[in-house]
């Protein structure tokens, strides 16, 4: 091993900096999953009948399904009966009316993670719907948004306060029978965020959710639904991190986006869940279904994601381009270090005429990381003049990691134009030495080179997120070249 490689190996052994478990008494339902569990969750949340029925349909369908096996990820079988499907911090039974009522322990947790709600509220102009385990505990700027007719808050609140909207759109993009994990989510999801932007309204601030998995052995099943009505605009940020723990934790979230005529939704994610230790012990299983539908003409949905965490990521933010002239975008950076595995990409389904889509995927593999891009571009017969451009670049750090690319292209309309470019490169000793010779440490050089590689994607992120993402890359990568 060269001296450089030795130093890098040392750096790679660093522990996850966000590893701690906060001590909040949790109110949990018993382990395991049955119709009874589903009823219990729905009852705890005082849901209307339509919700319980929908959950039960989902649960019964889920029983007929089996876990998908086609991804490149390898992991021990998940025991779905050994998971706690609902947990809420105990102090939440009496809902806090403001941040002042929030359990100080919770607030301290956020602060340790660098998300002081109050500061963000004042400084960044971000409304944060903070999800601690499964129940929303703090929603800011709600009043200001309400003046514009924007509804933004927890999914539970939306179910109670705007049942018609929920009933109209829930499952309309990701039906409960869509896939194994989506069905599971539909049956047991505990909370999440809901957002509705009325016609012609441009949401004046970035909306943000902060997820965190905490209670021991608790699966996290979030559900997010965002609707941008005709001519509306919203930018939504999702960021997450999790405490150190040993047991693998299942996370099966669903995100549905609906964009009506000429509406635009920008959805950005920075995902930094606990990836497991360097031997692959622990870490989050992140099996997520994210899909947006450009339902209206000229609508536009863009997904931007920076995925650095989780032991396993299985995630394909997609766009259904139904409206004529609608646009779908996917910009992704996925990083796997140590024993992390990622199978991620996008699906662009072109239905409307002159629909356009862009996929830019940057995969970075370090350590023993496995990184697969899997993407589908499907042009239906109706999609006259559709266009797609896909670009998948992989960067390898070291010689124990791997990158895979699985592009699927189905074109049913001869006027369509589909382009796909792919590249794989390795951070060269030459590049590192060059930077070092200019006085820059290996660590800084790696992060500089990787950030350069990711630049195209980072520039799609809102400013404060872009800065966070760069820091995250540096932390996650610390010394991964051999």
């Amino acid at each position: 091993m060269t001296a450089t490689a030795n130093r890098l190996a040392e750096l790679m052994d660093r522990e996850y900096p966000h590893g701690f478990v906060s001590d909040v008494a949790a109110d949990t339902v018993p382990r395991g999953l049955s119709e009874e569990t589903v009823r219990l969750i729905s009852a705890r949340k005082n849901e209307p009948a339509f919700m319980l029925e929908w959950r039960l349909k989902a649960f019964r369908h889920w029983l007929t399904m089996s876990e998908p096996k086609w991804s490149t990820a390898r992991y021990p079988a998940v025991d779905y009966q050994d998971i706690i499907y609902y947990s809420a911090p105990k102090s939440m039974q009496d809902r806090p009316q403001s941040l002042a009522d929030v359990d100080p322990e919770l607030l301290r947790t956020y602060e340790k993670l660098g998300v002081p709600l109050k500061e963000r509220e004042m400084l960044a102009g971000v409304a944060i719907d903070a999800v601690f385990d499964s129940v929303s505990v703090g929603t800011t700027f709600k009043d200001k948004l309400a003046e514009l007719g924007i509804i933004f808050g927890s999914f539970s609140d939306a179910v109670r306060e705007h049942p018609d909207l929920v009933q109209q759109y829930l499952g309309s993009v990701v039906p409960y029978a869509d896939n194994f994990f989506a069905a599971l989510n539909a049956a047991v999801f505990s909370d999440g965020s809901f957002c509705y932007i009325p016609p012609g309204v441009r949401c004046p601030m970035e909306l943000s959710t902060y997820f965190r998995i905490n209670a021991r052995d608790t699966g996290q099943f979030e559900r997010t639904l965002i609707i941008a009505d005709a001519g509306a605009y919203v930018s939504y940020l999702e960021g997450c991190t999790a405490p150190m723990r040993d047991e693998n934790q299942l996370h099966a979230a669903v995100v549905e986006l609906v964009a009506l005529d000429h509406a635009r939704i920008k959805y950005s994610t920075v995902q930094n869940w606990y990836p497991g230790d360097k031997d692959g012990k622990g870490g989050i299983y992140n099996f997520v279904t994210k899909r947006g539908e450009c339902r209206g003409a000229g609508s536009h949905i863009s997904w931007t994601q920076v995925e650095t965490g989780s032991a396993i990521t299985w995630k394909y933010p997609s766009c259904i381009l139904r409206g004529d002239d609608s646009i779908g975008e996917f910009h992704s950076v996925a990083l796997t270090n140590n024993r992390q595995q990622a199978d991620t990409g996008s699906k662009m389904i072109h239905i409307g005429r002159n629909t356009k889509s862009t996929i830019v995927s940057k995969g970075i593999s370090a350590g023993h990381g496995q990184n697969a891009y899997r993407g589908l571009v499907k042009i239906l017969k109706s999609a006259e003049g559709a266009r797609n451009y896909s670009q998948c670049d992989s960067l390898l750090l070291g010689d124990q990691c791997a990158a895979h690319t699985f592009p699927y292209i189905e074109v049913k309309n001869p006027t369509a134009r589909v382009e796909h470019e792919a590249s794989t490169s390795r951070i060269g000793e030459d590049q590192l030495f060059y930077c070092q010779q200019r006085g820059i440490s290996v660590e800084d050089a790696v992060s500089m080179i990787v950030n350069g590689f990711c630049k195209e994607v980072f520039k799609e992120l809102p400013m404060e997120f872009a800065v966070e993402a760069q820091k995250l890359m540096s932390v996650s990568l610390e010394g991964s070249v051999g």
Partner: protein, 257 residues
């Protein structure tokens, strides 16, 4: 400033440098010449700390300190600069970003305050003017899509900004047309100073018409086989390296040129 004694280095067990002795004082410009494969570039890289070469013997003292145990970035911060024969491309990282990071690392090491963006831009624009470089090169990715001449000028620009004490220029003249060569030479000459030493590694004498060295050393098969003044370069130009190859057997360590 630099004392090299019996330096030996190998790659994959194959000896490349077989006992180099060289002493360089502040203010001096030394040219290292020699045929392909003689170890010129290896010497440059070993001095800069490239760890693909294993140092198997000898010592290198720089300003009285043994630098062989030091990492490349530590040597750089101490004022050793290598202008690369093949400057690497770093996609997505702008030239200006790399240079600013480099300069601030070095300034920090020297106990100087970091330059802010405005101060830095003022400095670099002035230096670019000297090198007759287009300002748009600042915002392009490091060396990406640069012509051969632009890459080499960029190296000299970095040298001008970083103000090293010991500059090692590895075949900076290769691949340059005559106009570019003159600009690069002008840049190098502008940096000659009584406080700074330079080692020019070159295959041809051409660069030495413009940057006149104080000493010339000829390297063959990993050893310095002949040392002399600038006239040695002219002799080589006339007679080629062949007449010295035989001298290798009789080579004795150059008594400091």
């Amino acid at each position: 400033m630099l004392e090299i004694r019996n330096l030996q280095a190998s790659v994959d067990g194959k000896p490349i440098l077989r006992g180099i002795d060289l002493s360089v004082k502040a203010g001096e410009v030394h040219a290292i010449m020699g045929p392909n494969g003689s170890g010129k570039s290896t010497l440059a890289q070993v001095l800069a700390g490239r760890d693909t070469f294993a140092v198997t013997g000898g010592t290198v003292f720089y300003q009285g300190v043994d630098i062989l145990p030091m990492a490349p970035e530590e040597r750089a911060r101490e004022g050793i600069f290598l202008a690369f024969q093949y400057p690497v491309e770093i996609p997505g990282v702008s030239n200006v970003y790399l240079l600013k990071a480099a300069l601030n690392n070095i300034r920090q090491h020297r106990g100087q305050a970091e330059l802010d963006a405005m101060e830095f831009l003022a400095l670099i624009k002035q230096k670019m003017k000297q090198m007759e470089m287009n300002e748009d090169l600042l915002y392009r990715a490091v060396n990406e899509g640069f012509s051969g001449g632009e890459k080499k000028r960029n190296e000299i620009l970095q040298m001008a900004v970083l103000e090293p004490k010991l500059a090692i220029l590895d075949e900076t003249d290769s691949g340059l047309d005559i106009d570019a060569l003159q600009i690069v030479a002008k840049g190098i000459n502008a940096l000659r100073s009584p406080q700074r030493a330079m080692i020019l590694v070159t295959h041809y004498q051409r660069l030495l018409d413009y940057v006149v060295p104080d000493f010339v050393h000829v390297l063959a098969q990993g050893k310095i086989v002949r040392s002399g003044g600038k006239e040695l370069a002219l002799e080589l130009e006339e007679r080629g390296y062949g007449w010295l190859e035989g001298a290798e057997a009789a080579a004795r360590p150059a008594e400091n040129a």
